[in-house]
Symmetry: C2
């Protein structure tokens, strides 16, 4: 599995042997927590089998999944101490029984300093995961707004009996206590999801049931 | 300025000349918007002078600054189309009059594909900025909880007349409709900020004025 890491062919033979020799195996049962960012760094994780899940706990105490990793995928959040200034709090648990290869922090740190391809890998992986995390967080931040907007559009529909709502995004923002660019962002997302279509100064409801679901739920 | 980019010494002479020849200059007045992620990629930005500010607009329409960049600093969010799957929405404006060097997307893309040091630079920069962004977002998500917790601690203080609150974090979570690990996270942050100190099953208020401010404001 380590041989499939993208930086593997760029390691010297010595570095390859060092990596293989020092990477340990660990097994976790489904539901078992394997990392909490308030602990020490665990090391770099490569999933040999099973699935692990990274999550944060919402203010209301719900677990919000940030991303899942399966066979052959790597996690570098658990080696945050090597990457500069990652300071945000996550937890990782086994979503299914999982067998992991764990590269100890000190070993990863040494290869990271010696080899630019290891650094490229670490930062690329971090960029990809962070991008997913930010997407989830942005949804959390805007969940309340999406809910209000969906509710408002349905109200207008009910009042007028027409699925076509003739209002500018500026006017809608005023009604739901937001700002034009925020409403524009949500409307774009609604349109991508097939809930509405948009024209100049008007919004047409395509899927009232989808909007209803959104209006009733705190998260999408 | 381009000569100070960390990958500069690792470029071939041809690549260096290509970079210098194709990077344009642009000037922006304070307050002018220079990038919106719903637009096309702008290219990689290097700040020659002045300050630029990356922000998102909150659901209530407030601009939330994610990070600022000054002389010699680079922005790769504006070249998100080259980095794989960055899909989150930001805007950039000039926080002061600014003179920027802009490496066109196609030029950056070519160097990115040719040179591992350019990739390392791009992903490292993205990791650093994303980390800052996630920190801000986490604060936004937890602002309401921090506010409730600060208010609750002050109430207990007023009721008992003692700055020492003898309750477990589990009990506090029950009172403010949250979960133990979420309260633990906020209490850790409060302790780092010098607002409280903690012991087993108890929290001591050190700075009631600071807590009061927090309880009254939506954001920290």
């Amino acid at each position: 599995m380590l041989e499939n890491l993208p930086f593997w062919p760029h390691l010297t033979v010595d570095q390859q042997q060092y990596l293989v020799r020092s990477a340990g195996f660990r097994e976790y049962r489904k539901g078992q927590q394997l990392y909490d960012s308030s602990d020490e760094c665990l090391g770099m994780i490569v999933v040999e089998s099973g699935v692990i899940r990274t999550y944060i706990v919402s203010p209301e105490g719900r677990e919000i999944t940030l991303f899942k990793l399966g066979q052959g995928e790597s996690c570098v959040l658990s080696v945050a101490c090597v990457l500069s200034e990652i300071r945000f709090e996550t937890q990782i648990m086994a979503a299914e029984d999982a067998r992991l290869r764990i590269v100890p922090t000190a070993v990863f740190d040494k290869l990271f300093r010696e080899n630019v391809y290891v650094r490229e890998f670490a930062y690329e992986t971090a960029t990809r995961r962070f991008s997913a995390v930010m997407h989830v967080m942005q949804q959390m931040i805007f969940a309340g707004l999406d809910q209000r907007l969906a509710g408002f559009l349905l109200e207008q529909y009910e009042e007028s009996g027409s699925p076509e709502i003739v209002m500018t995004q500026e006017e809608i923002a005023g009604e739901i206590n937001s700002a034009r660019e925020v409403v524009a962002r949500s409307v774009r997302q609604f349109a991508r999801d097939g809930l509405v279509s948009t024209g100049r100064g008007r919004i047409r409801i395509l899927d009232p049931h989808g909007l209803q679901e959104l209006a009733e739920n705190q998260t999408r």
